[in-house]
Symmetry: C2
Subunit: 200 residues, 2 copies
């Protein structure tokens, strides 16, 4: 079987949310799996000097408009939440803990966290909200609480983030397909084309 | 007749070059004209705090790879020139001077300047190279020399740049279609869709 698509994302990334809702269907069409890899994009942004889209005045209005328009184009529900962006350590740790139990359940939780933030406007930067969302997905609160404080999971997220940066990842979403890197929701169509044609 | 598409670009922008080679065909399919508007993107970037793509180490390798890959996808010849980026005052002034004589000839010169820089690797940051390219497009060197020093043309480019920023333009390429702003070569497909559906 062909290698999986590596899908790197940050839970605070709206374009990551759009991609998360589309990438599995795309991969399935090409007989590929997707390896979901939430990481802490902030660590990469420190290296690149990049700022959140909404930090720059002239860009903020455009980005806000573009996000809403792009969501409508895909038929995805979307509201830019407040606060934005938020820290995503707890959300990413919850994912990586669950991923060791069940990859499918971890993916379902990732989508639920994205919906909680970008559809329902809940602040997933707060560990208590992450625990709420996990509970709605069948994970006992005490289990989540233990998981979020687990040293092994803390180390796992650090390692994932370090490895992502070593692999050249610096944005969200960011895809690596057969060694080829694609940055941004705007490259999903090129990922599709790349898989269809085996490169160009 | 429907309003023209405003196409803002900087002559030092590789994604602007890609868009320049595609936008007229797209507009024609929708029965639209394109109003080419070269401006000095550097003035907008000072306001947004944005840096050239290649100024950030982690991004530079990716951007270089992405440009070459995107050019291949479109079947456009492309080599990232050295130096990059360059000042585009002379190129833009030459355009605006010629645009007062003939919109079609100004557009042909714009494409020739883009090809000179991104295909032939000639430094269009140098006024003498701009004058060379204009000469190859039938404009006498003495005429270009006079034009580049013309106070009216200097003021014209300043005004175009100021008006672009007032209209919310901050990147290259940047399109305004019936009041709707689209930033980036990655939005050309959305411009196409927007014109087909009359918005969404």
């Amino acid at each position: 079987m062909a290698d999986p698509i590596d899908f790197y994302f940050d839970f605070s990334s709206p374009y990551g949310y759009f991609a998360a809702m589309r990438i599995d269907e795309l991969a399935t069409r090409h007989g590929r799996q997707v390896r979901w890899q939430p990481y802490l994009m902030g660590a990469a942004m420190k290296l690149t000097g990049a700022q959140p889209l909404v930090a720059r005045d002239l860009v903020k209005d455009y980005a806000t408009h573009d996000l809403a328009r792009t969501a409508r184009l895909y038929g995805l529900p979307f509201t830019l939440p407040t606060p934005f962006p938020v820290a995503t350590v707890a959300a990413a740790r919850a994912f990586w803990w669950l991923n060791e139990q069940s990859i499918d359940e971890a993916r379902a939780l990732a989508k639920a966290l994205y919906r909680a933030y970008f559809v329902e406007g809940r602040n997933i930067g707060e560990p208590s909200i992450v625990i709420d969302v996990a509970a709605e997905n069948g994970i006992e609160r005490s289990t989540s609480e233990t998981a979020l404080a687990d040293e092994k999971i803390k180390t796992k997220l650090k390692t994932v983030t370090e490895n992502a940066i070593k692999a050249g990842v610096f944005g969200s979403p960011f895809f690596i397909v057969d060694g080829e890197a694609f940055w941004g929701n705007d490259r999903v169509n090129q990922v599709d084309e790349w898989l269809s044609r085996g490169g160009w």
